[in-house]
Point group: C2
Chain length 130, copies 2
């Protein structure tokens, strides 16, 4: 059976993709793919997504240079989520952090703290092209 | 500012939660939470989710005993995804694998392979109670 036949896309034709840095195990981000962006990801070895807010197909790092080289593509028991292992160039987060998950809940859950250093400012990442 | 004010739930009041085993870095599963299940997760230190298919609030492991003890709750830059670090008892996957992501794409992306051992059969996990 084909891998694609095991997947369940939403009514909008999308599937969430969790992206993990293979070398460190750090979960970097979660973004949405449609079938075309998943095929492009497997074909090129660079992650491609579908932006729901911009209704646009994009390659991660196309503006910032912070691309992701694909090492493995896994899917879950229900076929409705992908887990993609990558090597990350630079910061995965558009806010300049290695991971988009740079804040954690503190204590009773009402406050939060930043848990990792900001590697670059967003201006440093995107300033030259905007 | 409260942690909850940073979160963006979907129109259905849900937010995806990626669950990672803290000790190994293995991504175990992705499931959905509503605000009540997130509050319960933080309050009790055990993961609780909202089942979209069953329209039901549930504690992970309530039938199988395979509970998840919460070590950290992080959220991403857009506030629309959670990353929860846990200690996993037994298998996270209802199919008896440690992780729900037990299959990976092979070669050109049309076939796939199982990448980890099945720890238990679903019958062993749920058989006694069904």
């Amino acid at each position: 059976m084909s891998f694609y036949e095991k997947l369940k896309f939403t009514a909008d034709g999308l599937i969430p993709a969790v992206v993990q840095e293979q070398s460190t195990g750090r979960v970097l981000m979660m973004a949405w793919m449609n079938r075309a962006s998943l095929e492009k990801t497997i074909e090129t070895g660079k992650t491609h997504f579908w932006s729901r807010s911009r209704q646009k197909f994009w390659m991660k790092g196309e503006e910032s240079g912070h691309t992701q080289t694909v090492k493995d593509v896994a899917f879950d028991c229900d076929g409705d989520t992908l887990l993609i292992q990558v090597e990350q160039t630079g910061a995965a987060c558009h806010e300049g952090y290695k991971s988009c998950f740079f804040r954690s809940v503190e204590g009773d859950g009402t406050s939060f703290e930043t848990t990792e250093p900001q590697l670059k400012s967003p201006g440093d990442i995107y300033g030259k092209k905007k």
